[in-house]
Symmetry: C2
Subunit: 213 residues, 2 copies
DNA sequence: TAATTTTGATTGACTGATCAATCAATAAAA
DNA sequence: TTTTATTGATTGATCAGTCAATCAAAATTA
């Protein structure tokens, strides 16, 4: 069997398998055997390539974050104005892949794990910061800094909250409705807050591409 | 040692111990021994009274919900108008007990568990429904039904989201700020939505006490 | 080209640790 | 004496992680 160069193939297969198994099972309490079986290899091979279960799990969450970033970069490519970029960020957060029940279950499992694993927490903090700071960057083009910060915090919380509520699967809200609710929030608070006098309508100060990376 | 009537005492001690251990450990993957030790009894006794670990965990989440309900009843006692009741609901959600890191960690662990345990999910669904329907009841006194429903959904999501974000402990938001953000949301959306023509300012149609039970 | 050695890929079988759950035994009230 | 409370000891199952052995491609040598 040993065709050389299997390593990257197997690593990817195992990470994908881990994600699927965790999503299905709804917990990180899955066995290496489960994951290896799903990937079509022996448990020993999983240990061979990742050293430990923890390491495989870490790689799995990294892969989840990488995917999210990729989606974000694509979505932000098309956005031109700060307001459009805000909508793009919202839309990405509720992207169909991310909204699949298994993916939500996996995220949730990692959130719980973050209470114990310092490294898992680090990754989730990166995600949380990225979401907040991307929102913030565009809000600052529309509002004074202090208002922008409050609204960024609120929008991030609403996105995460809609996501979590989805995990219970009772009265599922749906992608479009989730986007609409978040947009409503942004519209209402943008309207009720006095706009930034300097930056409004002028050439936006920030239009750097690829901020969300 | 056997003084009769220990059962309720031990049950409570074990449930409290479970909550503390789960909160500290940040996961349901705690052993019966850990819990029993914390409660000052042998692991065998925990099994004697609860039959299984799962059952003890179920009782633990029930106790968490009971506490939340108690707080809510107290907070709603003082509220007079629908708008006051809305604020009371928000305040209760961020009540200090609920906001303690160990409590947040425990909630999170149960959310994750709900992906597997039908019974755990049932309890969390009850919580989610209760939050939504309490918000809804008072919003309907201020707004047309469809707008009320959207805003109830949004507010519930924001509350849960602020809660979850807290669990990462990076840039903690704090109780007061969390309340303020949710109030901002309510104020902004109440202002930007045309009020219910019939009910506004008149004697509210719904002022039944103890709705949040 | 043919024979060989080396190296990467892969696994089955095993180990040690951990835990939920059980149970028989004990001790003290009623 | 019967009932209730309590535990130490044990069991059976589950898993992460290890290891020596195998297999076949690739590299090297003849």
């Amino acid at each position: 069997m040993p065709k050389v160069g299997m390593e990257p193939v197997r690593r990817k297969a195992l990470v994908d398998a881990a994600l699927r198994v965790i999503g299905d099972h709804g917990s990180l309490a899955v066995t290496m055997s489960d994951i290896a079986r799903q990937a079509g290899v022996s448990p020993a091979l999983a240990h061979h390539y990742f050293g430990s279960k923890e390491q495989l799990l870490i790689e799995t969450i990294r892969s989840l974050l990488r995917q999210l970033r990729r989606d974000a970069v694509v979505a932000l490519k098309q956005a031109r104005t700060p307001r459009e970029r805000l909508s793009a960020i919202v839309r990405v957060s509720f992207h169909a892949d991310q909204f699949a029940p298994e993916t939500i279950a996996a995220w949730l499992a990692f959130y719980a794990e973050a209470q114990r694993s310092e490294e898992t927490r680090r990754f989730l903090v990166i995600y949380a910061r990225r979401l907040r700071s991307n929102l913030l960057a565009d809000l600052k083009a529309l509002l004074p800094a202090d208002a922008a910060e409050r609204i960024a915090e609120g929008a991030a919380a609403m996105i995460d909250g809609l996501y979590i509520r989805q995990s219970l699967k009772s009265a599922p809200i749906g992608i479009e409705a989730s986007i609409a609710l978040t947009e409503d929030y942004l519209n209402a608070l943008l309207a009720s807050t006095s706009p930034s006098p300097l930056k409004e309508k002028g050439k936006p100060l920030r239009t750097i591409q690829g901020q969300m990376t």
